[in-house]
Symmetry: C2
Subunit: 307 residues, 2 copies
């Protein structure tokens, strides 16, 4: 089944210990689409400025991403400039220019409105709610958010949660939103406010998925060369939702596998700048890494005899 | 098979958001012994001051820990006072009084010298080397260390590595020792200097075990109530080495299971102050948590059809 994603389409300038890139394809909508398109057709809604190199988005169209919802507005594109130090764990934002994104008002094209799977990437919760007004009874709604909205749009965010099946957010955001340091408690707090499932992403430390009666954990894949962590969380979301949409199933086994596909896609995203690696990989690469994830955590339980 | 552990036997005063305790049984040797004794007989070598409530160590003796190597010296016992804030991730050391521990010179009793499994808890690498002079061809030597020794006793530590089969250390220590931010590279650096296996503990983020041709990861168990993280790493080591000693096997399957037993024992240690929970649990509690670990990471790989 098809996935609709509403999120930023940006230009990233990134410096890591291994190199730098200027005005590369970036933004949550872009990373999500590049990732999810390995599993299922994607419909992207976003906005770019009059300076955006839209021809470069054709690589997404070629992968089955319908770009009819990418509006072109008069003005500058959303640009993010960041740097990662040696440990690659935290991005240092050097500059954020929202440009046309600051006036973004998502308009869902008519032929997108019946998309069964909806991912609301990190944008103003008021806009996320507005998108839900425009779509027709989706089978599944997933959403991401960030510290800025948790602080400035708390009541809208709580309103949104009532309409969201799966909330994806990182550990710091979960703690900030719920005021629980303990992630098990934080997840329960969220599930009491709407979502049936909560995915808490911990970057290089992996991801938890909480459901009312189980917890699943997938590590981040221990890569020897992490090149650029930008977009890993959105690539995760793309693999996670893309796989769920592909199968149309939401039972525990499929949700668990979806988390591992999310981790898999996140692990590819960080191997090169921008969406480069996500465009390059093929089905067999994904299969191989999924296998490697299996080996990474596999053990056979067997209790020893008493002492 | 029996395990010999050489390490601190201390008195801990700890404050967490959930309570406080004064002069509780603590120290790496103590936590390790309480944990490993669930799997195999343990021989403990350490030193306590003339003020130490040695009768309180009887709980260990009752669990099969031979205390013949716990020397009583004139002077004050090793005392640590620490506090954990709301997030429980980092201990704030309020006071460290080494007391008799600062002159500790491990003497391995004659009937301990042929112990097949040796765990050198975090002490001066010169003393760790000295212990290895006193034991007779152990089957397996594992060691821990800390930032202080990495900085002040680097060459001794590198000398020690040549004689160690398994090094256990935390992620910050691995990065400090190897000057690699990337843990895969850090582990390889260590394995090139002696150990066949490296276990990198990441606290609440789980633990990696690296071998020359595989990587295994076990998460920390997501507990709703973490009461006091003190000793979790040593309880981990106790479960890990204790299980290996119990089975006498060192193949990949046993090593993986040992890591999960390590995580299991670490997860119990943090549920109460001091070694209280480690003394309380029974075989069925361990079996139940091992099962829970299995469910936490279990997924079935299955690649979806192409889009």
């Amino acid at each position: 089944m098809t996935v609709l994603v509403v999120g930023s389409v940006a230009l990233d300038s990134v410096e890591t210990p291994f190199g730098k890139v200027e005005d590369a394809l970036g933004g949550a909508g872009t990373f999500f689409s590049a990732s999810a398109s390995h599993f299922t057709p994607v419909r992207l809604v976003g906005v770019v400025g009059s300076d955006y190199p839209v021809d470069r988005l054709q690589v997404l169209a070629e992968r089955g991403v319908d770009l009819a919802g990418v509006e072109r507005a008069e003005g500058e594109s959303f640009r993010w400039r960041g740097r990662y130090r040696h440990d690659l764990n935290t991005a240092e934002t050097l500059e954020t220019r929202l440009g046309v994104f600051s006036h973004f008002r998502p308009k869902i094209p008519a032929h997108f409105r019946q998309t069964p799977y909806v991912f609301l990437a990190n944008i103003d919760p008021r806009l996320q709610l507005d998108v839900l007004q425009q779509v027709e009874q989706p089978k599944l709604v997933a959403a991401d958010t960030m510290n800025f909205w948790i602080e400035s749009r708390r009541s809208d965010l709580l309103q949104l949660l009532k309409h969201v099946n799966i909330l994806l957010l990182n550990d710091a955001e979960a703690r900030q939103l719920t005021e629980h340091a303990n992630l098990v408690r934080a997840a329960r707090w969220i599930m009491e406010r709407g979502p049936q499932h909560v995915v808490i992403k911990k970057g290089e430390h992996g991801a938890f998925m909480f459901t009312p009666d189980s917890i699943f954990f997938a590590p981040a894949y221990p890569l020897e060369d992490v090149f650029d962590p930008t977009g890993a969380g959105d690539a995760f979301a793309g693999g996670f939702i893309g796989y769920l949409a592909k199968t149309g199933k939401l039972d525990d086994a499929h949700l668990r596998r979806a988390v591992v596909y999310g981790s898999t896609m996140g692990s590819f995203a960080v191997e090169r700048f921008s969406i480069d690696r996500l465009l390059e990989i093929e089905r067999r690469d994904i299969a191989r890494r999924l296998d490697a994830f299996g080996r990474l955590v596999a053990f056979e339980a067997e209790l020893p005899e008493p002492v």
